[in-house]
C-alpha cells in the first residue's frame, strides 16, 4: 500500500468508528432518557400512560398503605397536588412519610403511578436535588436547615 493509501485507511477507519459511536449515542439518547416530573406537572401536563418518567416530591403524611406481598401504596405530593403511587418491593431505609422521594415508573391508565424504583435520600442529610427544586418552585420547602446540613 502506498503511504497515501495507508493514511487514508487510517483516517477512514477513524471516521467510521466515530460516526458509528455518534450514531449509537444519538439514537440511544432519543430512546432512553427519562424525564423528571413533579406532581403538579403530572397534574397539569397529563403525561400519557406508558411513558417512563421520574416522579419526585414528598411522601404525603398518612398516605402510606402496606398491602400483602411487599405491595406499598403512597402518595407523592408537592404541596399543590398529590399523585398516588404503587410500588412492589423493598423500600429504602430512609423512605419516610413527610420526606423527599424520587420514584421511577409510568402512569397506569387509572391515573396511578406504577413505580419500579424508589430512591430515597442517600443519607439523612441528602435531599434529592430535583425534589428540592420542584418543592421550591411550589414554595413548600423551607430548605435552609437541610441545605446547611447537606454541606457537611
Amino acid at each position: 500500500m502506498t503511504r497515501k493509501g495507508r493514511r487514508l485507511t487510517i483516517i477512514g477507519t477513524a471516521g467510521l468508528v466515530l460516526a458509528g459511536a455518534l450514531g449509537l449515542a444519538l439514537n440511544a439518547l432519543r430512546d432512553t432518557i427519562v424525564f423528571f416530573r413533579s406532581p403538579s406537572e403530572v397534574a397539569s401536563k397529563a403525561v400519557p400512560p406508558g411513558t417512563r418518567f421520574r416522579l419526585g416530591g414528598l411522601v404525603d403524611t398518612g398516605s402510606v398503605k402496606r398491602g400483602t406481598d411487599q405491595l406499598v401504596e403512597f402518595k407523592v405530593g408537592d404541596g399543590a397536588t398529590s399523585v398516588p403511587v404503587r410500588y412492589k418491593g423493598l423500600l429504602p431505609d430512609l423512605f419516610r412519610e413527610g420526606q423527599g422521594v424520587v420514584t421511577e415508573g409510568m402512569m397506569s391508565p387509572a391515573g396511578v403511578f406504577v413505580a419500579d424504583t424508589v430512591l430515597a435520600r442517600h443519607d439523612e442529610t441528602y435531599m434529592p436535588r430535583e425534589v428540592a427544586d420542584a418543592l421550591k418552585a411550589q414554595g413548600v420547602w423551607q430548605g435552609d436547615a437541610q441545605q446547611q446540613s447537606a454541606r457537611r
Binding site: K136, G139, W141, Q142, G143, D144, A145, Q147, Q148
Partner: protein, 365 residues
C-alpha cells in the same frame, strides 16, 4: 512567640530553597548530561545486554543497533544550543531572580496569611486544650448515655438528662426528640414542657410554632408562675400579630417580677418595642467578649462563604440585640442579596426585620 519563630524559620527555609541553587556555579555541560543522547546510549547498552543474555539473536541485535544509532545521530544533530550560563547577562538575570524570590515569598505568604490566618487564636488553643479535655469527658458521657438509651429506650431519666445537653449543644432536633421521649415516659412537668417548647422554637429558628405555643400553654397551666412559658406565649402572640395580647402578657410579667430577675430587661425591651418606643438601650448591654467574638466569627464566615437563611437571621438578630443597628441593617441587606433565589428565606428575613424594627419603611421615617 514560638509561632512567629517557627514561621520565620519556615520562611527562611523556603527562600533558601530558591536562593541556594541560584548561587551555585554550574557549567552547562554538567546540567545537560542527561538528555536524549543519553537515552539512546542507554538503549544501545541495553541491546548489548539482551544479546548477551540470549534474548536477541545476532540479526535482531544488528537491526536494533542500526535503528538506535540512527536516532542517536539525530539526537546529536538536534542537541540544544550551548547554554548561556556565564557572562554578564546571566549574572544580572540571576541577581534579579534572587531579588524577586527574596521579596515575593515573604510578601505573598504574609499578605495571604495576614488576611486569612488567626495567629492570635493559638494562645487560646492551649487553654482550649484543657477545655477539650472537659469536652471529651462530656462527649464520652454523652456517648455513654446515648448507648444506654440505645439499649433501653424506655428509660425516661436518661432522656431527661440528655435533652438539656442536646439543647445546650445546639442539637435542637435531637433535643426535641429527647424531650418528647422524656415527656412520653415520665409525664409532663413544667421543666420538660418548657424545655420541649424551647427546643422546638430553637429548631425553627426562633419561630414559636403552634405546637410549641400549645406546649407552653400546658406548662403555664401547670405552673402559672413560669416566666419562661409566659414569655414564649407572649412571643407567640407577638409573632401572630396579636400585639395587644402580647403587650398585656409582657406587662403582667413585669408587674409581678422581681426586678433582679435576669429576664426583666429582655421583656422590657420587647414591650417597649411593641409600644412603638425605641428600646431604651439594647437590653443586654455588657455582652461578654466571647459572645461578641462569636457573632463576629459568624459574621465573617457568612461574609466569606455565605450560609443558610437561619444563619443569616441569627446574625442580623445578634447585631440588633447587641445594639449595632447599622450592622444589622447592612447584614440584612446582604442576606437578602445572598438569598435572593429563596423566596421563603427572604420572607423570613422581612418578617425578622419587622420584628426588630429594621425594615426599610421605618428607616425612611
Amino acid at each position: 512567640m514560638l509561632l512567629w519563630v517557627v514561621m520565620a524559620l519556615m520562611t527562611g527555609a523556603a527562600v533558601m530553597a530558591v536562593l541556594w541553587p541560584l548561587s551555585r556555579r554550574v557549567s552547562g555541560a554538567e546540567i545537560d548530561s542527561r538528555g536524549d543522547v543519553e537515552f539512546y546510549r542507554d538503549q544501545l547498552a541495553e541491546i548489548e545486554r539482551e544479546l548477551d543474555r540470549g534474548l536477541l539473536s545476532g540479526d535482531q541485535a544488528d537491526a536494533a543497533r542500526a535503528e538506535a544509532g540512527r536516532r542517536l545521530l539525530r539526537a546529536h544533530a538536534d542537541a540544544q544550543p550551548a547554554l548561556a550560563s556565564t557572562g554578564e547577562p546571566a549574572l544580572r538575570r540571576r541577581r534579579a531572580a534572587a531579588a524577586f524570590s527574596l521579596s515575593i515569598i515573604p510578601l505573598i505568604a504574609l499578605a495571604v496569611y495576614g488576611a486569612l490566618g488567626s495567629p492570635q487564636t493559638p494562645f487560646r488553643a492551649e487553654k482550649a486544650g484543657a477545655m477539650a479535655d472537659v469536652a471529651r469527658d462530656l462527649g464520652s458521657a454523652l456517648a455513654r448515655i446515648e448507648s444506654h438509651l440505645a439499649a433501653q429506650p424506655e428509660d425516661g431519666r436518661g432522656w431527661d438528662v440528655i435533652a438539656p445537653v442536646y439543647l445546650g449543644a445546639g442539637r435542637y432536633d435531637d433535643a426535641v426528640k429527647a424531650y418528647a421521649a422524656a415527656r412520653r415516659i415520665q409525664g409532663d412537668t413544667v421543666d420538660r414542657l418548657n424545655g420541649h417548647g424551647e427546643a422546638l422554637v430553637s429548631a425553627a429558628g426562633g419561630v414559636v410554632s403552634a405546637e410549641a405555643a400549645g406546649i407552653f400553654a400546658r406548662a403555664l397551666a401547670l405552673d402559672p408562675g413560669s416566666a419562661k412559658a409566659r414569655f414564649y406565649g407572649a412571643l407567640a402572640a407577638e409573632q401572630d400579630g396579636n400585639a395587644a395580647k402580647a403587650r398585656e402578657e409582657y406587662g403582667r410579667m413585669l408587674a409581678g417580677a422581681d426586678p433582679q430577675a435576669p429576664w426583666v430587661p429582655v421583656v422590657r425591651a420587647r414591650l417597649e418595642k411593641l409600644e412603638g418606643k425605641e428600646p431604651a438601650r439594647p437590653p443586654i448591654q455588657a455582652e461578654s467578649p466571647e459572645i461578641i467574638a462569636m457573632v463576629e466569627g459568624l459574621d465573617s464566615r457568612l461574609a466569606r462563604e455565605g450560609g443558610s437563611g437561619s444563619e443569616w437571621a441569627r446574625l442580623v438578630r445578634s447585631f440588633a440585640v447587641l445594639g449595632r443597628q447599622e450592622e444589622a441593617q447592612d447584614r440584612l441587606a446582604k442576606a437578602k442579596t445572598a438569598l435572593a433565589g429563596d423566596a421563603q428565606a427572604v420572607a423570613g428575613l422581612d418578617k425578622l426585620a419587622q420584628d426588630l424594627g429594621l425594615d426599610g419603611q421605618e428607616k425612611l421615617r
